[in-house]
C-alpha cells in the first residue's frame, strides 16, 4: 500500500488484496440480481393472472415491481460496479487495494440497506418516489456504504505509480462523485420531514432517475468496458482524445435529460431536457464508435466468454440509450409516454447494457481474484446466451407493445381497455425472456457461490493443516513466491479453450 514502492506489485498480490471485498460485493450483487429478476417475474404475473395476489398485499404489482427495479439497480448494478471499480483502480495503480477492510464493512452495510429497503417496500412503507422507494434508514445505509467504498477507491487511485490517468479512471472516478451527489440530494430533498411542495418532487425525482439510469450506468459501464475491451483484445484503446470528448460530452449534456415532454411543469423544463437529449446523441455515438474502433480487427474467439458479454453490453449501450433519447423528442413522446416502451428501455439499460458488462467483468475478475478457475465454466458461457437472448426477448416485446399501446391511446375512439389489452400478448413473450435472464443469473450466482465455498473450504483445510503441521516448514498450502520476470510473457489460455 506504500506509494513509495519502486517496483510495481505483482498482479496476483493485487488480486488477492481485493478478494474479500469483491466476494462480498459480487456475491451480494448476484443474489440480489436473482431476487430482483424473480420479483420482477412475480410482478408481471399480475398481468397474466390479475387476481393472483388479490388477498396478498405484499406481491401485488405496485409492491413487487418497485422492489424488483430497486433490487436490479441498488442490489445488483451498483455494488457490482463498485467491486469492479475497486479492482480496476487497484490494477491500474499497480498497487494493492487501499484500506481493504473498509469496503468489506461498507459492502455489508450496503447489503443490509438493500435488504431493509426491499422489505420496507413489500410491506408498504415505500416513499412513493420512483427509484427512491427505500425509506430513510435504508437510504442512509446505502449512502454511507457508498461513501466508504468511494474513499477506498479514491485512496487506491491516489496511490498509483503511473501518475497519468487512463480513460477508465475518468469515467469511474466521475461515477463515484455522481452517485454521492445525486443520491444525496434527492434523498435530502424528498425522503425527509419537509420535502418541497408540489410537482418539484417529481422534477427532482426525474433528475435523479436520469442521473442514475442514464449517466451513472453509462459512466460505470463504459469505464469498465474501456478497461476490458483493450485488455482482452490485446490492442490499445483507439484514441484517448476521443474518449475525453466522449466523457466530457456525456457528463455535460447527459445530465440535463430526464424531464418527460408532457410533464405538468412549465415549458422550459421539458424543453431543456429535449435539448440535452439531442446533444446526448453525441456521447452515445462517440463512445460506441470508439469501442468499435478499439476491437475492430482483434482476433478474439468468443463463445460466450467475458469478451462477448462486454461487446454485447456496448452494443446495448448505443441501442438502448438512443431509444432512451428518442423518448425526449416532443413528437415521439406523445406516442411513447406512459407506455411499456419506457419500461423496456430502462430494462435494456439496466440488464442489456450494465448487467452484461458487469457480468463479463465479474467473470473476468473472479478467476484472477480467487486464483482458481470458475467451477462451472460451461455454465458461465451458457450465461451469456441466456442473458443475451433473454434480454432481447424481454425488452423488444415491451418496446413494440409500448409503441402499439401508445398509438392506440392517441386515438380517443379506441376504448382504453382495448388499448392496454394490445400490450398483453407482448407481455407474455416478455416474461418468458425474463425467465431466461433469471436462469442466466442463477448460473452467475452458482459460480460465485461455489467458488466462495471452495475458497472457504480451502481456507479451512489450510487452517487444519497448519494446526496439524505447525512445526513443519514449507507447508503445501503456502502461496507460490511471485516470479516477476514470468509476468512479462503474455498468455491468454482462458479464451483459447473452446
Amino acid at each position: 500500500m506504500n506509494s513509495a514502492e519502486n517496483n510495481s506489485v505483482c498482479p496476483n498480490e493485487i488480486d488477492a488484496s481485493c478478494r474479500v471485498p469483491l466476494l462480498v460485493l459480487f456475491g451480494g450483487a448476484a443474489l440480489w440480481l436473482v431476487l430482483g429478476l424473480a420479483l420482477g417475474i412475480v410482478a408481471m404475473l399480475s398481468f397474466h393472472k390479475p387476481d393472483m395476489f388479490a388477498d396478498c398485499p405484499f406481491l401485488t404489482f405496485g409492491h413487487a415491481q418497485a422492489a424488483a427495479n430497486d433490487l436490479l439497480l441498488y442490489g445488483f448494478a451498483i455494488p457490482a460496479a463498485l467491486g469492479v471499480t475497486l479492482w480496476i483502480f487497484a490494477r491500474l495503480s499497480q498497487a494493492k487495494l487501499a484500506l481493504p477492510i473498509v469496503p468489506v464493512v461498507a459492502a455489508n452495510l450496503w447489503h443490509v440497506g438493500v435488504l431493509v429497503g426491499t422489505i420496507s417496500i413489500l410491506l408498504g412503507f415505500s416513499t412513493g418516489h420512483p427509484w427512491l422507494e427505500y425509506p430513510r434508514g435504508a437510504s442512509v445505509l446505502l449512502f454511507a456504504a457508498f461513501m466508504l467504498i468511494a474513499v477506498s477507491a479514491v485512496a487506491t487511485m491516489g496511490f498509483r505509480l503511473n501518475r497519468e490517468l487512463y480513460p477508465s479512471h475518468w469515467f469511474l472516478f466521475a461515477a463515484l462523485l455522481w452517485f454521492v451527489w445525486s443520491y444525496g440530494t434527492a434523498n435530502l430533498f424528498l425522503v425527509c420531514n419537509h420535502p418541497p411542495r408540489g410537482v418539484v418532487q417529481a422534477v427532482i425525482g426525474w433528475w435523479l432517475t436520469n442521473n442514475l439510469i442514464f449517466v451513472w450506468l453509462a459512466l460505470a459501464g463504459v469505464g469498465i468496458a474501456f478497461y476490458f475491451l483493450p485488455k482482452i483484445a490485446g490492442k490499445p484503446l483507439a484514441s484517448s482524445g476521443y474518449a475525453l470528448f466522449g466523457f466530457l460530452t456525456l457528463v455535460f449534456f447527459g445530465t440535463w435529460v430526464g424531464i418527460p415532454q408532457g410533464a405538468p411543469v412549465p415549458a422550459w423544463l421539458p424543453t431543456v431536457s429535449a435539448f440535452g437529449a439531442l446533444l446526448s446523441v453525441i456521447p452515445v455515438f462517440a463512445l460506441g464508435i470508439l469501442a468499435r474502433k478499439t476491437v475492430w480487427g482483434a482476433k478474439v474467439p468468443c463463445f460466450g466468454g467475458p469478451f462477448c458479454f462486454i461487446r454485447f453490453g456496448m452494443l446495448s449501450f448505443v441501442a438502448a440509450n438512443l431509444l432512451y433519447i428518442s423518448e425526449f423528442c416532443p413528437r415521439a413522446s406523445r406516442v411513447l409516454d406512459f407506455t411499456w416502451f419506457n419500461a423496456g428501455v430502462t430494462q435494456w439499460q439496466l440488464l442489456g447494457f450494465a448487467g452484461m458488462i458487469l457480468c463479463g467483468a465479474i467473470y473476468e475478475i473472479l478467476p484472477r481474484v480467487m486464483a482458481r478457475e470458475l467451477p462451472f465454466a460451461k455454465l458461465a458461457k451458457l450465461n451469456f446466451f441466456l442473458f443475451a437472448g433473454g434480454t432481447l426477448l424481454f425488452v423488444i416485446p415491451l418496446l413494440i407493445g409500448g409503441v402499439e399501446q401508445g398509438m392506440k391511446l392517441r386515438d380517443s375512439n379506441i376504448p382504453f381497455a382495448d388499448a392496454s389489452a394490445v400490450a398483453l400478448k407482448f407481455l407474455r413473450i416478455s416474461t418468458t425472456g425474463q425467465l431466461l435472464v433469471l436462469l442466466g443469473a442463477l448460473c452467475l450466482l452458482l459460480n460465485i457461490f461455489v467458488m466462495t465455498l471452495q475458497w472457504k473450504l480451502g481456507l479451512l483445510k489450510t487452517v487444519v493443516v497448519v494446526v496439524k503441521d505447525s512445526l513443519v516448514e514449507g507447508s503445501a498450502y503456502q502461496p507460490l513466491p511471485c516470479d516477476k520476470s514470468a509476468c512479462a510473457t503474455l498468455q491468454r489460455d482462458e479464451e483459447v479453450k473452446p
Binding site: G62, W170, G198, V199, I204, L244, T255, P266, R334, L424
Partner: protein, 296 residues
C-alpha cells in the same frame, strides 16, 4: 486529463450545472408556490382534501398504485373557438353568404377566410356550429361583433385540445404544477396500464363505485387487467341477517356465497375518498379554457 483533480472538477461543474438548472431552479420557481385562483373567480385552487382523502393518498402510495396509473393530463394544443348559437331571424344559407362577404371585404379577416369558409362549407344549418377554431383571438371579437350587429348570437370559447383531453372524462385541460400543491408525495405515475386518474373524481364521483371497482374490477369492466384488491376489504358474516350500511352491493357472481357481506376497511374508504377528490376541471391562468356552464 492528467490529474484526479481535473476529472473531479469536470464532473463537479457538469453535475453542478444540472443541479442548479433542474433542482435549484425549479425549487425556487415552483417549490415556493402557494394557492392560486381559479380563472374569473375568487375560488382558490387546489381544493383542500378531506382528512380521509389525505390519508387515502398514503394508501395510494403504499400500494404502489402509481405503478399502473398516471395522474397527469397532457395537452397538445389550444383553440379560440367562435360558434353560432342562435341565428335570430336569418337563414343558414344567407348567413353563409353574409359571412363570406365579410371575409372578402374586411382586410383583417382575409387571412382567415379559408379557415372559416372551410368550416361553413357543407353546413346543414344545425346549431351550435363552430365557424372558427384557431390560435387568433382578434378574429373572434371582430367576427363576433359583426354577427352580433345583425342579430346573430355567437359564443366565444377557449378550448384545450389533445389526445388525453379527447378521451371523455379524462380531463378538460392539462395538468399544471398548481394541481399538485397539496400532494405529499406527488404521485404522477409513468405507465398507463390503467387509465389516467387526474379527473377520476369528476368521471366517477360515487364512493361506492370506487369501492366496488377496487374489490372486483371485473364487475365493472369485464376485460379489465386491474387486479382485485380484496385485501382492502373484509368478508364477514352478516350481523343478524342484515347487511351493514357500509357493505358493498355487488353483482351476484362477485358476492361471497352464503350469509356473508363485503365491508371495506378504513384503508379502502380512505383510498376511495382520495380518488373521488381527484379533479382537473378548474380553469387557471396557465391552463385556460372556457368552462361549460350549461348542464350536460
Amino acid at each position: 486529463m492528467k490529474t484526479g483533480f481535473c476529472v473531479f472538477l469536470a464532473a463537479f461543474v457538469a453535475l453542478g450545472a444540472s443541479w442548479l438548472g433542474l433542482v435549484f431552479g425549479p425549487l425556487k420557481q415552483l417549490g415556493v408556490a402557494t394557492e392560486t385562483k381559479i380563472l374569473q373567480s375568487d375560488d382558490k385552487w387546489p381544493v383542500q382534501r378531506t382528512g380521509d382523502a389525505t390519508l387515502g393518498l398514503q394508501v395510494y402510495r403504499a400500494n404502489g398504485c402509481a405503478a399502473c396509473h398516471t395522474e397527469q393530463i397532457r395537452q397538445t394544443g389550444a383553440a379560440n373557438e367562435l360558434s353560432l348559437v342562435n341565428l335570430g331571424v336569418h337563414q343558414a344559407a344567407d348567413l353563409k353568404d353574409f359571412i363570406a362577404s365579410l371575409l372578402g371585404t374586411m382586410p383583417e379577416l382575409m387571412n382567415f377566410s379559408n379557415a372559416v369558409a372551410g368550416n361553413l362549407a357543407g353546413w346543414d344549418g344545425k346549431l351550435p356550429k363552430v365557424i372558427y377554431s384557431g390560435a387568433d383571438d382578434t378574429v373572434i371579437s371582430l367576427l363576433g361583433d359583426k354577427l352580433k350587429a345583425v342579430g346573430v348570437k355567437t359564443e366565444a370559447r377557449v378550448v384545450a385540445t389533445g389526445a388525453d383531453i379527447a378521451r371523455m372524462g379524462w380531463g378538460v385541460r392539462q395538468s399544471v404544477a398548481a394541481d399538485y400543491l397539496y400532494d405529499q408525495p406527488v404521485q404522477l405515475g409513468s405507465l398507463r396500464a390503467g387509465p389516467d386518474l387526474a379527473n377520476i373524481g369528476v368521471r366517477s364521483p360515487d364512493l361506492n363505485w370506487q369501492l366496488q371497482h377496487l374489490y372486483a374490477p371485473k364487475s365493472i369492466t369485464p376485460n379489465s387487467s386491474m387486479p382485485a384488491f380484496r385485501y382492502l376489504f373484509t368478508v364477514r358474516a352478516k350481523v343478524g341477517g342484515q347487511s351493514s350500511p357500509d357493505a358493498l352491493v355487488l353483482p351476484k357472481e362477485f358476492m361471497p356465497a352464503g350469509n356473508l357481506e363485503v365491508v371495506p376497511t378504513a384503508e379502502a374508504k380512505q383510498l376511495a375518498a382520495y380518488l373521488v377528490s381527484l379533479k382537473n376541471n378548474a380553469p387557471l391562468y396557465e391552463a385556460p379554457f372556457t368552462p361549460i356552464t350549461a348542464a350536460k
